[in-house]
């Protein structure tokens, strides 16, 4: 088929036998790499990759405290500027050590979430009491996302990975659509990066970590500020908490709304 002669659709490293390689019988243990069809084959009009997020989730905010981490995100998934789906959780419990908060294209988040869930099932199938750690998941996410960006087909997501490791040490990191990652005591994506991070940094004691109470208080005020100032937010949000004692998503909670100041605002 001449359609397959689309040079743009050639993957970066795959396809074809390696020169000098032995013939492999079927069923051999030599792994013949099989990629999903959409990554290797051009369609009838060439290949088009997505260039923008369509249905989007907005900010995720994560705060690390002395015994664990807290992740918060509102429950809105927008379709452009339309508040299309208003009751969708964007903070997920991955296993008993890991929380994942996703912002960006929600379809891509669901896709990566399914892959991660499959990995957790594979972990359980080993039946050896070893579960993935947040650091490992964050590392794996950078590999996947960087690989996708190298294929010029990125997942339009910006995720926050948080949790505790075997010793109960909290871990909080961000991985973005290019596979960049960083760790900090406060991690935010979307508008929260501009609106919430300064608020949290302002409250950070120099000599110690936050306590759980301080962290949850900060989450509450930050989600309130985000609701007021980010048009892609709604007043309902969920909070994931992960510590050595357990891991789970709580809520939905409601932002304290107070619109009495509204009548003082004129001129718009």
């Amino acid at each position: 088929m001449y359609n397959n002669y689309n040079c743009l659709a050639q993957p970066l490293w795959q396809n074809g036998p390696v020169p000098g390689e032995f013939y492999n019988f079927t069923g051999g243990q030599t792994h013949i790499q099989k990629l999903p069809r959409e990554l290797t084959t051009a369609g009838p009009y060439g290949t088009k990759h997505s260039t923008a997020a369509i249905t989007t989730g907005s900010s995720v905010l994560g705060i690390r405290y002395d015994g664990g981490v807290m992740l918060a995100a509102d429950t809105l998934v927008s379709y452009g500027s339309l508040a299309r789906y208003q009751n969708i959780e964007r903070v997920f419990k991955i296993n008993k050590n890991i929380l994942l908060g996703g912002s960006g294209d929600f379809a891509d988040i669901q896709s990566i979430k399914r892959s991660i869930d499959q990995k957790m099932i594979e972990d359980q199938c080993c039946d050896d009491n070893i579960e993935m750690k947040p650091k490992s998941l964050a590392s794996w996410m950078t590999r996947v996302l960087y690989n996708r960006r190298s294929r010029m087909n990125p997942l339009y997501i910006d995720v926050v990975v948080g949790g505790v490791d075997t010793e109960g040490t909290p871990y909080l990191a961000n991985v973005d659509l290019r596979g960049r990652s960083h760790e900090d005591y406060v991690i935010a994506t979307g508008f929260a990066r501009h609106l919430a991070i300064p608020l949290v940094r302002e409250k950070k004691p120099k000599d110690r970590d936050f306590t759980a109470v301080e962290a949850s208080e900060l989450i509450r005020t930050c989600m309130e500020v985000l609701y007021y100032r980010d048009t892609r937010n709604i007043s309902q949000y969920t909070v994931g908490v992960c510590s050595a004692n357990g891991c789970g998503v709580e809520g939905p909670f409601q932002v304290n709304e107070n619109w009495t100041f509204a009548e003082t605002i004129k001129g718009y």
Partner: protein
């Protein structure tokens, strides 16, 4: 050597339900010099006996580091072991690249077992002719695994493989209860004492002469990356072990079970798979 009607191919069953080629591969393990693996609560230790093939050559490397948390000790065909160790190394490296952590030992061994099993089920392959003792440390603690050419693996409390390893196993069995609470020094000494018994009888008697034999010791554990001990450390532990106690009894006769069989008639009945030394319970 053996002549059996049903040993022409790995994939051919004998009417007794045995795979003769696989069993022959198991014999290859007994050709290698002995090696011992044992562990206490936080550390796993490998001790291997290396004998130069001639006075003119250096001894073969018996212990192969795989990753920071894991290493293997081999008995059998060294070239096969090299292929397996390359596989293990690349698996560990891939895992580290993807997950930024070390490959859990039990999963790595299961993975290796799956790879080795395919060779026992295909007419165009032969089983790996090497036995491995794997010492590793992960979040579940230290591990000692025995891997055989039949692709079976055992999660051992302590074990020994290779020629004349029966006496080492007897020693390990006798002292098994003390290992868990041993200090690291003591567990190394136990390993050395166990392996001294598997020296050939004549060399055993003149064991003051350290030039006759050569041991390699490796250790891995909590906050202790896999390390092959230096010559000086070996001598220190050898001295310590000799002060500590009597080595394992040398095998009484040379027709020990663990020497390669030489009889023309292999025993007729099917053998049950035998677990040589106490194994760990599944979690």
């Amino acid at each position: 050597m053996f002549r059996n009607q049903y040993d022409s191919d790995v994939t051919v069953w004998s009417p007794q339900g045995r795979l003769h080629q696989v069993e022959y591969a198991m014999e290859a393990v007994k050709l290698g010099t002995a090696t011992v693996g044992l562990k206490n609560r936080e550390t796993a230790v490998l001790v291997a006996l290396c004998k130069p093939t001639s006075e003119l050559s250096a001894s073969q490397r018996k212990i192969i580091p795989i990753d920071d948390h894991l290493g293997i000790s081999i008995a059998g065909i060294t070239a096969d072991a090299r292929v397996l160790s390359r596989y293990l190394r690349s698996e560990c490296l891939n895992y580290k690249h993807s997950y930024d952590s070390t490959y859990p030992v039990s999963r790595l061994i299961t993975n290796l077992g799956n790879k080795m099993q395919t060779t026992t089920q295909r007419y165009d392959r032969r089983p790996y002719g090497v036995g491995l003792l794997v010492a590793g440390y992960d979040e579940n603690g230290p591990h000692v695994f025995q891997v055989t050419p039949s692709a079976t693996f055992y999660n051992c409390k302590a074990n020994s493989i290779g020629s004349r390893s029966q006496s080492a196993r007897t020693y390990l069995g006798k002292n098994l209860d003390t290992f868990l609470d041993c200090s690291n020094d003591d567990i190394i000494c136990h390993g050395i004492l166990a392996i001294l018994g598997s020296l050939p009888t004549d060399e055993h008697q003149s064991k003051e002469n350290t030039a006759q034999f050569n041991i390699t010791v490796a250790i891995v554990g909590k906050n202790q990356p896999f390390k092959i001990l230096s010559e000086q450390e070996n001598e220190k532990y050898l001295r310590m072990a000799k002060e500590k106690g009597a080595p394992a009894d040398p095998p009484r006769n040379d027709d020990d079970d663990d020497r390669p069989s030489t009889s023309d008639q292999p025993d007729a009945g099917p053998r049950d798979p035998e677990v040589l030394v106490a194994t760990e319970q599944r979690p």
